[in-house]
Symmetry: C2
Subunit: 554 residues, 2 copies
Amino acid sequence: MTALDDRSVQPTVTSGPIMGSEKVYLEVDDPASGRTLKVPQRRVGLSNGSHIDLYDTSGPYTDSSATIDVHAGLARTREAWIDDREPINGAVTQLAYAKAGVITPEMRFIAAREGMDPDFVRSEVAIGRAIIPVNRRHPESEPMIIGKNFLVKINANIGNSAVTSSVAEEVEKMVWASRWGADTIMDLSTGKRIHETREWIIRNSPVPVGTVPIYQALEKVNGDPASLTWEIYRDTIIEQAEQGVDYMTVHAGVLLRYVPLTAKRVTGIVSRGGSIMAAWCLAHHKESFLYTHYEELCEIFREYDITFSLGDGLRPGSIADANDEAQFAELRTLGELTHIAREHDVQVMIEGPGHVPMHKIAENVRLEEELCGEAPFYTLGPLATDIAPGYDHITSAIGAAQIGWCGTAMLCYVTPKEHLGLPNRDDVKTGVITYKLAAHSADLAKGHPRAQEWDDALSQARFEFRWQDQFNLALDPETAQAFHDETLPAEPAKTAHFCSMCGPKFCSMKISQDVRKYAEENGLSTVEAIEKGMQDKAEEFADQGKRVYLPIAD
Amino acid sequence: MTALDDRSVQPTVTSGPIMGSEKVYLEVDDPASGRTLKVPQRRVGLSNGSHIDLYDTSGPYTDSSATIDVHAGLARTREAWIDDREPINGAVTQLAYAKAGVITPEMRFIAAREGMDPDFVRSEVAIGRAIIPVNRRHPESEPMIIGKNFLVKINANIGNSAVTSSVAEEVEKMVWASRWGADTIMDLSTGKRIHETREWIIRNSPVPVGTVPIYQALEKVNGDPASLTWEIYRDTIIEQAEQGVDYMTVHAGVLLRYVPLTAKRVTGIVSRGGSIMAAWCLAHHKESFLYTHYEELCEIFREYDITFSLGDGLRPGSIADANDEAQFAELRTLGELTHIAREHDVQVMIEGPGHVPMHKIAENVRLEEELCGEAPFYTLGPLATDIAPGYDHITSAIGAAQIGWCGTAMLCYVTPKEHLGLPNRDDVKTGVITYKLAAHSADLAKGHPRAQEWDDALSQARFEFRWQDQFNLALDPETAQAFHDETLPAEPAKTAHFCSMCGPKFCSMKISQDVRKYAEENGLSTVEAIEKGMQDKAEEFADQGKRVYLPIAD
C-alpha cells in the first residue's frame, strides 16, 4: 500500500482549461527512440481567427480531455524513456549525456517547448549553464530547463507545517501554483506526515519538485540541530531521492569560519537551513558535515540525476546586509562545490538573495557567474526595500525582474504574506502571477526571441477593442475580466470602442486607426508618403472624422 | 458665494494619525522673514524608546490636534510669505528668485523636509534640475520639490467622470491619496462640475495639484477637438490659474508632422491630450496652437508661478512602440520648449512613458536629460510588460523603480484597474503604496543620504521580534498587522520570538543574537576577535544554546 491508497486523503484539485485557452500538444519526433513527444502548449484562440500558443506549466489538469485521478497519480510518461537509456561513463544524468553529445528525449522536448535548437539545449547543459531537473524516479514530470539562455522560470514554495494545513490542501496548492505558471514547486513541509505529503505531491506533479532535506532530517532528531549526523542526513537524502525529488537545497557552503562574519549584521542569519547548519558547526566546533561529506552526496545525486540547489545559508535578510563579506564568502565556497559536482556529472544551480537594493543586484549575478562557472542562478526576489511588509511580492518583483534581466535563470516567488504569516490560496496565486510578470519582463529585456509576441498580441487586441481577447491573453484572465466588469458588466461592452474610464465616446486609439486607414486606402507605404498624402487630404479628413474624443488614460 | 459654501456637498474625509505614528513639526527659522516655519513629519515611536521621523505628505488630516473643516478649506499658511515678496526681474517665480540667489521660505522649508542644505535647494531650482510647484493662488499647500537629487516623488491621479463619482468622493480621494504618501495629485475630472470639483480639491489639498487643461477646454466645445481655439484654451488656463493649479500638463510637443510617425505603431496614440491635439492638427492641417502660442502661455504661467508639465502626447502605449521615432521626435520638441520656458523664468518638468521594456528604460532618461537640460522627468510607470492587465500597478512598479533609479524625479502611479476600469478607494491606496515602495527603492539605489534609515529601523525591529514596531514602521501598517493577525491574532504573539510560518519555536535569527551576545560579553570588537573567542568557547556555546530551530523563511 502506498500513501496514495489512503482514502482518508481526498484532495480536490482544480482542473479544466484556463479561461479562453485550450490545451494543445506539439508533436515532436525523437529520432533516437522513434517516439513522438507531446509537448504541451496553452493555446489562446482570438476572435479575429488567429491564435497564440504560450508556454504551459499546468500539466494534464488543464486538458479538458484528461481524466484526473489523484490516487493513481499522473501518467508515468517518461518511464519508458528512462528505461531505454544506458549509463554513459557510469552516469545516467542529463549532464553526462550532454557532455557525451547525446540529445536525450528530455532535451528534444525542451527544445520544442522553448523554441530552440535541440543541440543548443544539449550544449548549454553540457557546459553547466543550464540544468534539467529530472530525478529518474519522477517520470510523471514534463521536462523543463533552467538556464539564462532560456525563458526565465519561477518557483512556488508550498508545504504544510505542524498545524496549519493538510496533505490534501498541499496537493491542491501544487496544482494551483502550476496552473498559474509555477515552473517548479518546492515542498517545504515540516511537522508530521512529511513523507506522505511529499509522496502525494510528487506523484501528482507535472513540474519538478524541490526540497530542503535538512528540514526532514531535523524532524528526525526532534528539532535539535546539534543532534544531526551525516548518517541521518544521508538516509533522508536517499529516502527523498527514492520518492523522486528533482532538486535538493543543500547548505554546504555555511562553513564554521563564516558564522562570525554574521555577528555585526542587522539581521544575522535568516535562512532556516543556514541557521541549522551554523548551530551545528558552533555546537560541535567542527566543519559542516554537508561540506565534509560533499563527494558522497554527489555520488547519491548522480545515481538519481538529482540536481544540487546549493543554498545560500548566509544570504542577507535586510538591505543593510546585502553583498556583505558573509554572503560572498559563502558564494566562493559554492563555486568550489559547483566544480566538484560537475566532475561527478551532477547538475548544479546556485541559490541567491534575498534582500538587495537595486544598485547592488548586478554585482550578485556577476560574481555568481564568475565564481560558479555560470551555473544557473536561482534567487529569492530579491526585495529592493524592507519598508513594505504586506507588499513584499511587489518589493521583490522589482528586484526579481531586474536580476532576471541580469541573467538569473529562476526566481523563487514571494507572496504578500512574506514576513507576516502563512500564504493562503489567494496569496499563492498572487505570488505566482507577480513572478510570471517579473520573469516575462526579464525575458523581454533579454530579447528572448519569442517573448514579445505575447505582449504584441495583447496590445493589438487592446488597440482593436477586442476586450475578450485582451482578457484571455492576460496572465490572469479571470481577474482582468472581473476588474472590467466591476464598472461595465454588460455584454455589449465587450466589443465597445471604449472603456469605463472615459465612457461611451471614442478613445485616443481611434485617431491612429484613422491615420492607418488613410495609408492603406491610398497605397502609401512609407511615412513620408503618408505625410504627403495627409497634406493633400487634410480637408477630407476633417470632414470624415473630426470628432475624436477620449482615450484610455492620460 | 464660493463652491465650498455649497452645503449639499458634504465630503467625509479620513483624518487622524496613521497607526503607530504621530504628527510632529520641525521648527525652522527663516532669517529673511523672521518667521518660524513648521515642517511636518510622521514620527513613528518605537517600543525600545527610540523613534524615527519620516517624510510626511498627509497635511493637517493626520494631526490629531487639527480641526478639519472642508467648507473653510485648509489654512492659507503661505499667503503671508507670498504677500511679502517683491517681483524679481518682473517675475515672482521660484525660478526667478533662485537665479537671483534668493532662498525663499519655500526653499528653506523644503531643505528641512529633505534634510538638505537650503542653498543646494536653491541652486538645483536655479539650473532647472528641480522644480517647486507652487501657484501663488494655492497658499494652502506645503512646499515640496521635484528633482533627481531629492527624494523620488509620486503622483496620484484622481478626478470624476460624467457618471461615476461625486465631488465629495473626489475630495476624499485626494485626502486618502496624500494620507498614504502621494506627493502631488492630478485632478483629471471631466464632465459637469469640473470647476467646482477642482475648487474643492485645491482649497483642501496639502499637496500641489496638477491638471490637464485641454480636458476642460474640450468640454467647453462639447467634445469636438476641431472646434478648439487658442482663445478657449487660454481662458481655461487663466480660470485654472486663478483657482491655484500648481502645474499643468501641456501637450505642446505634438506637432503636425509627427502624427504620421504613429501610423505603423501597434497602439497608435494613447495619450488623451495627445490624441485631441493630433485631431486638431489634422482637421485644420495647421501647427498646434499650443506650440504657436507657447510664449503667451509662458507669460501666463510666469504670473502665477505655474509649472509646465510638458506632456508626452506621443508616448508609447505598448512594449512594441517604446523608444520609437514618434516618441523621441516629440521629446526633442519638448527640449526646445523647456529652454523657452526657462527664459521666461517659468519652471518645467517633462512627462515620460508609458510602456517600456527594462532594457530601453535608461535610454529614455539619458535622452530626456540631454534634450531637456536635465528638467525633472515625470513618468507614468513605465510598464515593463503588457501581458498582465489587472496587475499593472506591479508591471509598472518594476519600470518605475528602475527609471527612478536612473534619475526620474516623479513617478505617476498606476492602479490595478489600469486599462480595465475606474479605480476605487482600495485601488487608489494600492497604487499609492506600490509607488511609494518603488520610489523608496529608487532612493536607496541612488544612495539618498537618509533613505536607508527607514529600512534599517524596520529590519532591526524584525530581527528583535518587535512585531508592533515592524507593523508601525511599514508603509501600510494596517495591512501588515492584518496579514499577521490572520494566522496569529492573539496579543502575546506581538512579542513572541516566532511567527506563524514556523510555529512557536526559535527562528534563524536567534543564532545571530547568540553570536552577538558572545561578542559583547567578551569585549570583542572585530570579526577576527569574535572568531577567536568563539573557537575558545565553542563548548560553552554548545551547552548554552544548541537548540536553534526554525527561521522565518528559506
